[in-house]
């Protein structure tokens, strides 16, 4: 039997685990957090102003045009949705595979999912010409005949997929937190805290019979989330794959997008975890370098899967013999006016993660932080490449054109980080960042005195 490393470092007992995890929630924020929060909030306010301008004045403020009718908003939507995948993946799929190491990072990863989906969800709503009419995308009874929606449109699938995904992710995340809220309630020193966390905990007491249902529910939700998480990015990829545009109309898109989503999601988890480790040093015992290493392995693997997808697109384009496909890949994408974005993508997504072949690199916090940032940049550019380079030169050369990048494009991209980080930082302060109830059972893993993990 292979000797396992400890999942939790330090000489913890149950009480110290509770204390450690509850500490950020129960003590006033430190300077570091406050600074970050103020920065994020400023960015969020800026974001709101920018979105206000776009809604008030029109989509023309962004760089979208003919033929590139989708731009930054859709790119960033797919980017955030992709990031939102790692959370569910870590908590659901790894749960099903009984990967105990997931417990320390699952909560934060799920939170990241929820916030990323929230950030992402804004984009398709706001990128429409008349966002105040977005509710028309839902099939609700109405006085127009009634006039329904077009269930054949991938955008409608998106509506269903993203809203289902958001709902189920939030439910999954929340159900996971219910016992921890009970802990917080029981530790609460003042009545208001007690009431709030009491309400959030739904009156959870932790009886064995309830735990039995709870575990079953958690398993079921994990089981349901797994196909869901795969379906969501599949459906997001349908937005492109179902269209007939060369460069979009590709059967490899669903797995390619899912792999890319996992890739970018894990990169974002690594980014955030390194930040959490810096901001809350007590979490170093829970989010250990071993955890980070495992995630880096996944990043490298999925990075190569994505690289394979890039290559296979070229092969298929060549093999199909279709002149439009061939043009998009062999002329436009890799060597056209947007070649720079293509090569940024290749560098960031395929080449840079290769450093993780070396154990030393995998376990180096600065290296993994930098690499994860590059992967995030690369994955944003992947969507940029798919969206913009495919659209900018399609069938009739007469309608070719370039994306007219404007100040507002950059502003919505960076502003969205304001929303995400604000939510994330708030989460770190008000919710237990590591699952208290889940960490405790894995305490003995890798310890000589315990009965070992399974």
């Amino acid at each position: 039997m292979i000797k396992r490393n400890k999942l939790i470092l330090g000489h913890k007992d149950l009480k110290s685990i509770t204390d450690d995890i509850c500490q950020p929630v129960e003590t006033p924020p430190g300077k570091g957090w406050l600074t970050l929060f103020l920065g994020a909030k400023t960015l969020l306010i800026f974001y709101i102003i920018i979105l206000g301008c776009v809604i008030a004045k029109g989509m023309g403020l962004l760089g979208v045009n003919h033929p590139v009718a989708w731009g930054t908003m859709i790119i960033t939507f797919v980017f955030w949705i992709g990031i939102g995948h790692a959370g569910t993946l870590i908590s659901a799929i790894l749960f099903l595979f009984r990967q105990k190491w997931r417990t320390s990072v699952a909560r934060t990863a799920e939170a990241m999912t929820v916030f990323a989906v929230m950030t992402a969800g804004l984009f398709p709503l706001l990128h429409t010409g008349r966002p105040w009419l977005d509710f028309w995308l839902f099939p609700y009874p109405n006085q127009r005949g009634p006039l329904w929606v077009n269930f054949r449109s991938p955008l409608l699938w998106d509506v269903f997929a993203v809203s289902t995904y958001a709902t189920v992710s939030i439910v999954f995340w929340y159900i996971g937190m219910v016992p921890d809220f009970a802990t917080l309630k029981d530790r609460a020193k003042n009545q208001i805290r007690r009431k709030i966390y009491g309400a959030l905990s739904l009156g959870w007491r932790g009886s064995a019979r309830n735990w039995s249902h709870y575990e079953m529910l958690y398993l079921l939700l994990a089981g349901l989330s797994t196909p869901l998480v795969l379906s969501v990015h599949t459906i997001v990829s349908f937005d492109f794959a179902v269209a007939q545009l060369p460069g979009w109309h590709t059967t490899i898109f669903p797995p390619y997008f899912v792999a890319g989503a996992i890739f970018s999601g894990f990169a974002m988890v690594v980014t955030l975890m390194t930040l959490v480790r810096i901001g809350f040093p007590q979490f170093k015992d829970y989010i250990t370098i071993d955890h980070m290493e495992v995630m880096n392995k996944i990043i490298m693997t999925t990075g190569m899967m994505v690289g394979y997808a890039y290559a296979s697109e070229f092969f298929v384009a060549w093999y199909s013999g279709n002149i439009y496909e061939r043009y998009v890949f062999f002329v436009s994408r890799a060597f056209g006016p947007y070649a720079w974005s293509y090569w940024i993508m290749i560098c960031c997504n395929v080449l840079i993660p290769q450093v993780f072949w070396f154990k030393k690199m995998r376990r180096s916090i600065p290296v993994m932080f930098v690499v994860s940032i590059f992967v995030n940049i690369g994955m944003w550019f992947e969507r940029y490449v798919i969206t913009v380079t495919s659209l900018h030169r399609d069938f009739l050369p007469s309608s070719w054109g370039n994306y007219a990048w404007s100040f507002f494009d950059g502003a919505v991209l960076f502003g969205s980080f304001g929303l995400f980080l604000t939510l994330f930082l708030l989460y770190l302060r008000v919710m237990p960042a590591v699952s208290i109830a889940e960490v405790k059972p894995v305490l003995p893993v890798g310890r000589d005195d315990g009965h070992g993990g399974h």
Partner: protein, 1022 residues
């Protein structure tokens, strides 16, 4: 003052226009009594902000009000007429025939009005000459509603040097009194543009007689060179009528007869006529120094520089007369001595000698059925007259005179002259001119500063202008008496002698303006001078009728009483026909005395008019500026076009700014690297760089007239040596077309005539298309459109017509650069062949109304669906603006309202909006609808009359505008419809057919009659 000299506007309260005033409403053809009772002005003034009728209501953008909001809608008012004019039915358009003269071509019009407002200008289908209307003719509706028109007469408050521009409103009575007094002093000159029409000319003639005035006509695009050539060769000072329909071989030496020379709308129709039957289609050979629209449509295009124009003609003559010894002039030594200089022309032109002799042989082969033309600004070189004489001689040799060139049917109106203008400046300088009356001229803009027009005009005691705004010239006038817009006033026109057109007003004058003609009559009346008819009539309408009674009716009334004749005139808008022709005798000595061309080296200037701007008059219309140039596709600018070789040699790139110096005149122009241009040519469009035209046209591009040179009284626009200097600056040129070549895709299918004769669907690569299911059935009508690429000349008339019909906004240069142009129909221009000798193909692309429309499938809110008559419907009010449809459209014909364009329309330009088409709000997608409003109107009319719809009853806006009948629309379910027949033609193909979107548009292969065996010599995929 008596009632007499009041402007017309004051008079229509009573029924002053009696029986004669008819309209051409297709249904009722009723007596028009007082159509002007319903002037929008009066309503607009009285109830501003009140939705008087549907019209104003529709005008406002469809606002958020559209949604099922839970609040009561704002209170709207309905304001009925006091007395309703009989011919007006709310919501039903009236049509009036009229005419439009652009200084060169007179076109028959059909003006659509709704509730008394003209909203659309179309060609008069009964007209014997033109079918469509030129771009400027269609856009003249914007001139009518131009917010910057003067709203009444103005008096200039001059300082001593007459350099300031302060004006006050003038009082009609005292102004007329002042002018009449001044006129009596003598020294009167009436300076006008070319005048078309019997009465229009007669009134000026009468006026000149009254005051002993001199009439000077000036047109920048004057055709003076043609007249001079005709005069030298035949003794006739006229511009002959050309018959491109009868010619089997057309050789054009820089005459852009399909674009901007002489009468392009008529000629386009003729040209298409001569090519309709493909097996016997004509061949067009163009020797082109600028890349003109004619060059773009040529079967064989040879790039030349202006100094070679004469060489071309002499070269052809040399081949025919000397080398082959053909024609009766073969032995003539004098002729030979001139023609000999044409030997070796092919080498100088840089073409295969075989090609030139082939063209010469063909010309001889087709003698009597060929046509050689030269003319226009690019031929206005130092040897312009020689070129014309040589061309006339060549036509004489080829026996074309009287067959394809008809002097008898000449246009007698085109008397504009640079020489007369220059002489007038001298007269003014010397103080001989005491009063100058200017009408439809803008010498302040056109004439280069060095000619001293401004100094000269300031020496004139009294200057009167009839410009509709304070433009470059009328700023120098003591009085600006704004002329009525052509849509507001009576007039006439005469495109070729024997064909007479009426210009009928379709709206009461919007402002306190007065027609030029009535002004002349008024002054004559006050001064009590001049012929009786000038003083006798109260209105110009009465005068015009009198002139027609005296001068026109005897020629063409064919025994009808004048009242019947007049009724017919008003109904049809045009009477008479193009008569037969006969040959004239040629003065050979005119030819034998011409000098041989000198070989020139170095860069040469070519000035040319564009189809949008023309000579630069009336260009304060946004449609014109946003319309892409047919060949370069660039909008909102003029530029210096140079060849690829030249650009390479001097390392110039598109948009680099160079300083161009021609004879001491400098201009800093951006470079357009133009394929297919001669390496020694630098071509610049005129008509830009207005400084006092209005908000839209001011400072768009640069005024290239300033580069012209003058040799005595001879104006030289082309062939002048050019020096250039790089400035290091760059400038963005807005070209809405992205790719310039077809990248080897099957987009525009072309075949040579030989290929076509062998195999009718030559070069069409058909795909086997199959589907998993059978598709929907279309039982009633199923609308379809066929576009004959062999007829399409790429003239852009359809684009403007669509814009006018469908309320399509203009976005401006900034947004064209960002790819936000809104045109529903665009004409794609692709270069084919080698870049140095690039040939051009055109393809109008509108929504293809695919049965399996990719756009519909992806719309989440069913805003775009398919109708049961085969239309791809776009429901603006349902659209939330995801723009997915645009992404998924293979033809990229969908347009998005990135901003609220409609809300920004300046009043009263909103009156030009079509009330039958919803004005789109911000954030919705729009696209070609196949003019569904026209379909609906026609279908409803047929239903109302209990009869089936006739083929051809529905005509889309683009179709009606097409001068060459290249667009056919109709019911595909009717096997006998014209469109079905086109669909069945073997050269019909669908764009991107293999994608199986099943488009409802078919294109018909373009056939190039260039004598070659195959279109593509080197592995180009067709």
């Amino acid at each position: 003052m008596s009632e007499k000299n009041r402007p017309e506007i004051q008079r229509d309260q009573t029924y002053w226009r009696s029986l004669e005033h008819y309209n051409q409403d297709p249904e009722f053809l009723k007596l028009a009594e007082t159509e002007f009772q319903s002037s929008p002005l009066r309503e607009g003034e009285a109830e501003d902000g009140v939705a008087r009728r549907e019209f104003l209501k529709l005008m406002g953008a469809s606002l958020a009000m559209a949604t099922a909001s839970c609040v009561r809608r704002p209170v709207q008012k309905i304001v009925p007429y006091n007395k309703q004019p009989e011919e007006i039915t709310l919501g039903v358009p009236n049509y009036y025939t009229s005419s439009y003269f652009d200084g060169s071509e007179s076109m028959g019009l059909l003006i659509k009005t709704r509730e008394g407002r003209p909203i659309k200008i179309e060609g008069n289908s009964d007209h014997p000459l033109n079918r469509g209307v030129s771009i400027k003719g269609q856009a003249s509706i914007l001139n009518l509603y131009d917010p910057e028109r003067l709203r009444g007469p103005k008096k200039n408050l001059f300082n001593e040097k007459r350099t300031n521009k302060d004006t006050i409103g003038a009082n009609w009575d005292s102004m007329d009194q002042d002018i009449a007094t001044q006129l009596k002093k003598g020294g009167v000159v009436v300076l006008t543009g070319a005048l078309s029409g019997v009465a229009n000319r007669a009134v000026v003639k009468d006026f000149c007689q009254a005051f002993g005035a001199k009439h000077v006509q000036f047109e920048p695009l004057s055709h003076e060179e043609v007249r001079a050539g005709q005069k030298a060769c035949y003794g006739d000072d006229l511009v002959p009528f050309y018959r491109f329909d009868k010619a089997k071989l057309i050789v054009s030496v820089d005459a852009d007869f399909l674009g901007a020379w002489l009468m392009p709308m008529t000629f386009s129709g003729q040209f298409a006529e001569g090519r309709k039957d493909i097996e016997t289609m004509s061949r067009l050979v163009a020797f082109d120094s600028n890349y003109s629209l004619t060059g773009a449509n040529a079967d064989i295009r040879v790039k030349i520089k202006p100094s070679q124009q004469l060489d071309v003609v002499l070269g052809l003559l040399h081949e025919i007369v000397v080398k082959k010894g053909r024609s009766s002039h073969a032995g003539n030594g004098a002729v030979k001595s001139v023609v000999d200089s044409g030997a070796g022309a092919a080498a100088r032109l840089g073409i295969e000698p075989a090609l030139l002799s082939q063209i010469a042989d063909d010309l001889w082969e087709n003698r009597g059925r060929s046509l050689v033309v030269a003319g226009g600004l690019p031929t206005l070189t130092a040897q312009a007259a020689e070129l014309q004489i040589a061309v006339n001689f060549l036509n004489q040799v080829l026996d074309n005179e009287g067959k394809t060139i008809e002097a008898k049917n000449a246009n007698v109106g085109l008397q504009g002259s640079w020489a007369d203008m220059l002489a007038l400046i001298n007269d003014m300088k010397s103080g001989q001119v005491k009063t100058l009356i200017m009408h439809k001229v803008n010498p302040g803009y056109v004439l280069p500063k060095a000619l001293g027009f401004f100094e000269a005009v300031r020496k004139v005691e009294m200057v009167v202008s009839t410009a509709d705004r304070q433009d470059e010239t009328s700023g120098e006038a003591h009085f600006i008496i704004p002329d009525n817009h052509p849509l507001e006033t009576w007039g006439d026109a005469e495109p070729v002698s024997g064909v007479f057109m009426i210009q009928q007003p379709s709206i009461r004058p919007m402002y306190d303006t007065r027609s030029f003609q009535l002004s002349l009559m008024t002054w004559a009346f006050i001064a009590k001078q001049g012929p009786k008819r000038l003083q006798e009539y109260e209105t110009y309408y009465d005068y015009l009728r009198a002139v027609w009674r005296e001068e026109v009716a005897p020629k063409v009334a064919r025994g009808k009483s004048f009242d019947d004749f007049w009724l017919e005139v008003l109904q049809k808008g045009v009477v008479g026909e193009v008569g037969s022709a006969s040959g004239r005798s040629f003065r050979t000595d005119a030819f034998t005395s011409i000098k041989a061309p000198k070989a020139a080296t170095g860069l040469e200037l070519v000035l040319y008019p564009t189809v949008m701007m023309g000579d630069g008059s009336n260009t304060n219309a946004s449609w014109l500026h946003e319309l892409p140039d047919p060949v370069t596709k660039i909008t909102w600018d003029n530029y210096a076009s140079v060849s690829l070789g030249f650009a390479k040699k001097n390392s110039l790139r598109q948009g680099d700014v160079i300083e161009v110096t021609v004879g001491g005149n400098k201009l800093e122009l951006p470079v357009n690297v133009q394929p297919g241009l001669h390496d020694d040519v630098l071509a610049v469009a005129i008509g830009y760089g207005r400084t006092a035209a209005g908000k839209i046209a001011n400072n768009i591009g640069l005024n290239a007239y300033t580069l012209m040179g003058f040799n005595g009284t001879k104006a030289i626009a082309s062939g002048l040596p050019v020096e250039f200097k790089k400035t290091g600056k760059t400038y963005e040129l807005a070209n809405p077309q992205g790719g310039q070549t077809m990248e080897g895709r099957q987009i525009v299918v072309e075949a040579t005539l030989k290929e076509y004769l062998k195999k009718k669907d030559a070069n069409i690569h058909r795909h086997h298309i199959w589907s998993l299911w059978s598709g929907h059935q279309y039982n009633g009508h199923k609308w379809g459109m066929a576009v004959d690429l062999n007829s399409c000349t790429g003239c852009n008339a359809c684009v403007i017509s669509c814009q006018s019909e469908n309320n399509i906004p203009v976005v401006g240069k900034k947004y064209v650069l960002q790819g936000r142009e809104m045109a529903w129909i665009r004409i794609d221009r692709y270069y084919v062949g080698t870049p140095e000798d690039a040939e051009v193909v055109f393809q109008p692309v509108m929504c293809q109304h695919c049965d399996n429309a990719p756009c519909e499938t992806v719309c989440p809110v069913v805003a775009t669906t398919h109708t049961d008559d085969g239309l791809n419907a776009m429901t603006y009010n349902r659209c939330v603006g995801t723009r997915y449809c645009s992404n998924n459209c293979p033809y990229k014909v969908r347009r998005f309202n990135w901003f609220g364009y409609a809300q920004n329309i300046e009043k009263p330009l909103h009156m030009a909006l079509n009330p039958d088409v919803t004005v789109r709000t911000r954030g919705v997608m729009e696209k070609c609808t196949f003019c569904v409003q026209r379909i609906k109107t026609a279908v409803n009319t047929a239903k109302k009359e209990n009869r089936p719809l006739k083929d051809g009853e529905v005509k889309t806006a683009c179709q009606t505008a097409c001068p060459s009948d290249g667009i056919i629309f109709g019911d595909m379910n009717d096997p006998n419809s014209q469109v079905s027949k086109y669909f069945k033609e073997e050269r019909a193909y669908g764009l991107l057919e293999e994608w199986n979107a099943a488009p409802a548009v078919r294109y018909l292969t373009k056939i190039r009659n260039n004598g070659k065996d195959a279109r593509h010599e080197k592995g180009e995929h067709a």
